[in-house]
C-alpha cells in the first residue's frame, strides 16, 4: 500500500462548522476551555454571538447545549472524549437524550469529541477514553459515529447538522490516514465496504480502518481474501451489511481503540449473533486501561493491546480455522 496521507480531524471539524455557521444561523458551538485544542475557537471568532466557552465545566456545557437546542438551536458541544461521556453522563442522558418534544426523540445536540481511545498518547491512561462507545450506545435516542478520516468528519458533521436529534461523534487526537475518497457517501446506520473479500471480514472504525486495510493487503499476499468494513456508524449498526459479511465470509474480526466490552465489537457481535452467528474475534483493550506513550510510541501502546494490522491478520487466520 502507498504511504498514507495524514490529515487533522479537528481542523476539518472546525472548517466544516464555519461553513455550516454561514449556511445556518441556528448553528451554535460550545466548548469547555478546550476550544483552541478542538479548534472550535475559529467558529467563535467569526460568530462570537453563537459561540460559548463555559470554562472547565462539562456538566454545564451539556445542559447549556440542551437549553439552546430546546429553543431551536443546533448545538455542537465539544471537548475531549474523557470529559464528556466520562464525566457528564447524567446531563447527557437526562438533559439531551430523554427530553422528547412532540414526536421528536431527544434534543438537537451534537456532542463531538476529540482525543478518543488509546491513541491520545502522552497524557496517559487517565485521559484515554476507552469506555465512551459503550456509554453512549446504551443511551436511547443517541446515535454514535466513529469517523475514520477527515472526509468522514466533514461529511458526518454536515449530516448531523441536517439530521434532527442527539449524536455522539468521536475523533482521534493525532492526524489520521485518509482512507476514503471525497465522493464517499455516508449514511446513518450504513457501514461502508471499503475493500471486498470472500474469506473473512474485518470490521473496523476510526484509526483501525487503515490498519484493517493493511491487514487485508498482507493477507492477500497469503492468498486470503479479506473484506474490510468501516463501521463508522456504531449506532445504529448496519445489521444487513454485517449479516451479508457473515454469510459470505464466514467469520468477523473487529478492531477498535476501545474496551472490547461494550464497544463496536460488541455491537457487531450482538447483531451477528442474532441474525447469522459466525465466529467472531474482538480486538481492543482487553478490559484494561491505557498508559502514557509519546507520539512516536503510540504504535507500541496500541501493539500492547493487540491493535495492529499484524494482529488482525493473525486473528483472521485463527478464525478461519474455527469456521462453522
Amino acid at each position: 500500500m502507498n504511504p498514507p496521507i495524514m490529515t487533522d480531524m479537528r481542523s476539518e471539524y472546525s472548517k466544516t462548522l464555519i461553513e455550516l455557521g454561514r449556511e445556518n444561523p441556528n448553528i451554535v458551538v460550545l466548548g469547555a476551555d478546550t476550544t483552541d485544542s478542538l479548534k472550535t475557537s475559529g467558529f467563535g471568532k467569526i460568530f462570537p454571538n453563537r459561540f460559548f466557552n463555559v470554562g472547565i465545566a462539562e456538566a454545564n456545557l451539556v445542559s447549556l447545549s440542551a437549553g439552546l437546542a430546546a429553543s431551536g438551536k443546533i448545538s455542537f458541544a465539544s471537548t475531549y472524549a474523557i470529559f464528556l461521556p466520562g464525566r457528564a453522563v447524567d446531563q447527557i442522558r437526562n438533559g439531551i437524550a430523554y427530553p422528547s418534544p412532540g414526536n421528536k426523540k431527544g434534543l438537537n445536540v451534537k456532542l463531538v469529541v476529540s482525543h478518543g481511545g488509546l491513541s491520545v498518547g502522552p497524557d496517559g491512561g487517565s485521559h484515554q477514553q476507552i469506555e465512551d462507545i459503550a456509554i453512549m450506545r446504551v443511551i436511547p435516542n443517541f446515535r454514535v459515529f466513529i469517523p475514520a478520516d477527515t472526509f468522514a468528519v466533514s461529511k458526518l458533521t454536515r449530516l448531523m447538522a441536517n439530521e434532527y436529534g442527539p449524536f455522539y461523534m468521536r475523533m482521534a487526537r493525532s492526524n489520521t490516514p485518509v482512507v476514503h475518497s471525497e465522493s464517499q457517501d455516508f449514511q446513518i446506520g450504513k457501514g461502508i465496504t471499503i475493500r471486498d473479500g470472500s474469506d473473512c471480514t474485518i470490521a473496523a472504525c476510526g484509526i483501525t480502518v487503515r490498519m484493517a486495510l493493511e491487514a487485508a493487503e498482507s493477507l492477500q499476499q497469503e492468498g486470503i481474501s479479506c473484506r474490510v468494513l468501516d463501521m463508522f456508524s456504531v449506532k445504529p449498526i448496519d445489521a444487513e451489511l454485517l449479516e451479508k459479511a457473515a454469510r459470505e465470509t464466514g467469520g468477523i474480526v473487529t478492531c477498535e481503540e476501545h474496551n472490547i466490552l461494550g464497544g463496536m465489537g460488541s455491537a457487531v457481535a450482538e447483531s451477528v449473533s442474532e441474525r447469522y452467528p459466525v465466529p467472531i474475534k474482538r480486538i481492543g483493550a482487553q478490559d484494561m486501561f491505557g498508559e502514557s506513550a509519546r507520539d512516536n510510541e503510540i504504535s507500541l501502546l496500541l501493539e500492547k493491546h493487540g491493535i495492529t494490522s499484524f494482529n488482525m491478520a493473525k486473528q483472521v487466520k485463527e478464525i478461519r480455522s474455527r469456521k462453522l
Binding site: V28, N49, F52, G55, L64, A66, A69, Q91, N94, P99
Partner: protein
C-alpha cells in the same frame, strides 16, 4: 389570546384563590398516586401562583407559542405543584391530575416534555439553571423578549453544576433570567443546615430558629459573589414575590435571583417544616381533613386608624414589622359616616413605604366617582358599601377594579342585608366585609347579632357561589375572633385590639394563636366525624414537629374525642 399575562394578571385575592386550588389538587394528585412530593410543591406554591396568574406570558391552547415566557422547574420533584397550576391555568382538565405517576399518563413523576407546556425534563437536580442559561442565550441570539423563570430547590444547590451555571449566567450577562431559590431549609434526609449548610450550621433541631436571625443568612452572599442581583423575600407573601419579580425583571446587565424563604409543606400543619413530607403522599382518610385545613387559612389585617392618626407612617411600619397579612385602611369622608379620616392622597403617600397589601375600605358617598383615585393610589383591594351603590354604579366599580388587578370588595353595615341587585356580583366578589359595629369610629364593641346575621348570609352566599373571603370588621377581639371564624370569616380586621397595643407583633401572634386553636378544633371535629377516635388519633399522630402534637391532643381531650 392568553388568559394570564402581564397585562391581564389577577389580583391579590384571585392569586390566593388559585394557589389554594392548586394546593388542593396537589393533595388529590399525590393521594391518588400514592407517592409524590407535596412538601416542595407547597413551599413554592405562592411563587408559582404569582408567575402563572400575574407575570408569566403563555397560551395554554398553544403551548409552543414562540414568544411565551419559559418556566423551568429545576426542582423537578415538585412536579405535582407544577402540574396543578398548569391545570388551573387551563393546559388540561383538573381531573387529569388523578393520573399523576400512573402508567400511560403524560403527568410523569417528574416534569416531562410529554406534557405540552412543560419546558424542561426535571428530576436530575442541579441541571436546570444551566439549561435555563442555554434557553436565555438562544432568546438573546434571536432577539426575543420573552423571559425565563427558573425555580431551584435549596438542597439542589449542593450540586456543583448550579455554580457553574451561575458563573456562566454572569459571564454572558443573561438578564433575561429570573431565578428563584425555594429556600425551605429541608432536603430529603433532613434540614439543609444539617446536611450541607447554605447559611450557617444549625445547632439544635428547631428550624424556625433560622428564620429569626437574618445575620445567619449567607446564601444571598454566595449568589452576590457570583455576580448575581439578589433579592431576598418571604416566599409565601404574594406582594413580596410580585414586587421581587418586577424588580428582578427590570434589572439589566446581570442575572437576578430571588431567594424566597419558605416553609416546606406550607399550609398543612403536620407537613410544615417536617422533612418526612419531602416525598410522601397523604392517605385517603386524612385528605378531606387536609382540604378543610387548606380552606381554613386566615389573615389578620390591622386597621391603622385605631392608632396615632398624626403618624400613620409609623403605624404602617408597625403593622409590617408585626407581620400583618395586610393593612386595612378606613377611608371616611365625614358624610357617609360622621367621622373623617384620610383620602387617597394619604394612601398614595403610605404606598411608598411598603409593598404590603392595602385593603382600602371606602366609607364614602358616591364611591363610583372616586374609586379610580384609590386604584391609582396603589390599593390592592377596594371595598365599597352597598348602602351607597346600586347595580349600575357597582357594576362600573367592579369592572374597573378587575381590569386594574385590584380585589373587589363589598361591605354591609350591621343593619343592612345584601341587596338583591348585588347577587349577580357574588360569584366574582373577592371580599365581603360584614361590619360588626356601626362604622364611623374606632374602639366600639362587637354587635352580637352579627353571628345570627352570618348564618343567614352564608345561605345567600352559598346559593350564589361566593368564593371570596369574608372579612370580619368591627370590635374583633381575642374574645370573639374564634366565633367569627366559625361564622365563616377568614380575614379579621383588628383595630384597637391590635394597633392599640404596644407590641403589635405579639398582638397579631395572639390573634393568630386564638384562631389556630379554633381551626385545630374544627379539624378534629372533622376527623371524629369521618373516622371516630381512630382517625382523631391518627390525625394527632401526624403532627410530629415541635409542640403541635401536645397542643392538639389537649384540644381533642377537651372535646372528648380520646
Amino acid at each position: 389570546m392568553k388568559p394570564c399575562n402581564r397585562e391581564m394578571g389577577l389580583n391579590y385575592y384571585q392569586i390566593k384563590k388559585n394557589v389554594l386550588r392548586a394546593r388542593k389538587l396537589v393533595i388529590k394528585a399525590t393521594n391518588s398516586a400514592g407517592s409524590g412530593h407535596p412538601g416542595g410543591s407547597f413551599s413554592m406554591a405562592e411563587i408559582l401562583g404569582c408567575l402563572f396568574y400575574k407575570h408569566l406570558q403563555y397560551d395554554p391552547k398553544n403551548p409552543t407559542w414562540d414568544d411565551r415566557d419559559r418556566l423551568i422547574l429545576s426542582k423537578g420533584h415538585a412536579a405535582p405543584g407544577l402540574f396543578s397550576n398548569m391545570a388551573v391555568a387551563g393546559y388540561f382538565p383538573e381531573s387529569e391530575l388523578e393520573t399523576l405517576r400512573k402508567f400511560g399518563s403524560k403527568l410523569q413523576g417528574h416534569p416531562d416534555l410529554k406534557c405540552p407546556g412543560v419546558e424542561f425534563c426535571g428530576g436530575s437536580l442541579g441541571t436546570g439553571l444551566s439549561y435555563s442559561v442555554g434557553v436565555a442565550l438562544a432568546a438573546k441570539i434571536d432577539g426575543k423578549n420573552h423571559h425565563i423563570y427558573t425555580i431551584m430547590g435549596d438542597g439542589e444547590t449542593d450540586e456543583g453544576q448550579v455554580w457553574e451555571a451561575a458563573m456562566t449566567a454572569a459571564k454572558y450577562k443573561v438578564d433575561n433570567i429570573t431565578a428563584f431559590l425555594d429556600r425551605n431549609f429541608i432536603q430529603q434526609d433532613s434540614y439543609t443546615e444539617k446536611i450541607m449548610p447554605l447559611d450557617e450550621k444549625l445547632e439544635g433541631d428547631d428550624i424556625s430558629e433560622m428564620w429569626k436571625d437574618a445575620s445567619r443568612w449567607k446564601t444571598g452572599d454566595k449568589w452576590r459573589s457570583f455576580g448575581w442581583n439578589v433579592i431576598e423575600i418571604d416566599g409565601h407573601r404574594i406582594e413580596q414575590i410580585n414586587s421581587a419579580i418586577t424588580k428582578a425583571n427590570s434589572t439589566k446587565g446581570i442575572p437576578s435571583i430571588i431567594i424566597a424563604r419558605t416553609i416546606k409543606g406550607k399550609g398543612v400543619e403536620h407537613m410544615e417544616d417536617n422533612p418526612q413530607w419531602h416525598g410522601k403522599a397523604p392517605d385517603s382518610d386524612v385528605s378531606p381533613i387536609i382540604n378543610l385545613e387548606l380552606d381554613s387559612q386566615f389573615m389578620i389585617a390591622p386597621s391603622i386608624i385605631a392608632g396615632d392618626m398624626t403618624n400613620l407612617e409609623n403605624e404602617v411600619k408597625r403593622c409590617v414589622s408585626g407581620r400583618a397579612d395586610y393593612i386595612h385602611l378606613d377611608v371616611m369622608d365625614g358624610q357617609f359616616v360622621p367621622t373623617k379620616t384620610f383620602d387617597h392622597r394619604k394612601i398614595q403617600e403610605l404606598r411608598s413605604l411598603t409593598v404590603i397589601p392595602f385593603d382600602s375600605h371606602l366609607m364614602i358617598n358616591e364611591p363610583v366617582k372616586h374609586v379610580r383615585d384609590y386604584v391609582e393610589a396603589g390599593s390592592d383591594i377596594i371595598t365599597v358599601h352597598v348602602e351607597v351603590c346600586d347595580e349600575s354604579s357597582f357594576g362600573e366599580i367592579h369592572d374597573l377594579l378587575k381590569q386594574s388587578q385590584v380585589g373587589v370588595g363589598l361591605a354591609i353595615n350591621p343593619d343592612t342585608d345584601l341587596p338583591e341587585w348585588s347577587y349577580k356580583f357574588i360569584p366574582t366578589l373577592d371580599q365581603l366585609i360584614v361590619m360588626s359595629v356601626v362604622p364611623g369610629k374606632s374602639g366600639q364593641k362587637y354587635i352580637e347579632e352579627t353571628h345570627g346575621k352570618m348564618i343567614r348570609l352564608n345561605t345567600v352566599l352559598n346559593e350564589h357561589n361566593f368564593s371570596g373571603c369574608i372579612e370580619a370588621d368591627g370590635g374583633v377581639t381575642l374574645d370573639n375572633i374564634d366565633s367569627c371564624f366559625v361564622d365563616g370569616a377568614r380575614s379579621f380586621v383588628g383595630g384597637s385590639a391590635i394597633i392599640g397595643k404596644q407590641d403589635v407583633r405579639s398582638a397579631i401572634r395572639d390573634f393568630r394563636n386564638q384562631v389556630l386553636k379554633t381551626k385545630r378544633k374544627i379539624l378534629l371535629d372533622k376527623a371524629n366525624e369521618l373516622g371516630g377516635s381512630t382517625l382523631v388519633k391518627k390525625w394527632i399522630g401526624l403532627h410530629v414537629v415541635g409542640e403541635k402534637q401536645e397542643q392538639i391532643k389537649k384540644i381533642a381531650e377537651e372535646a372528648g374525642y380520646l
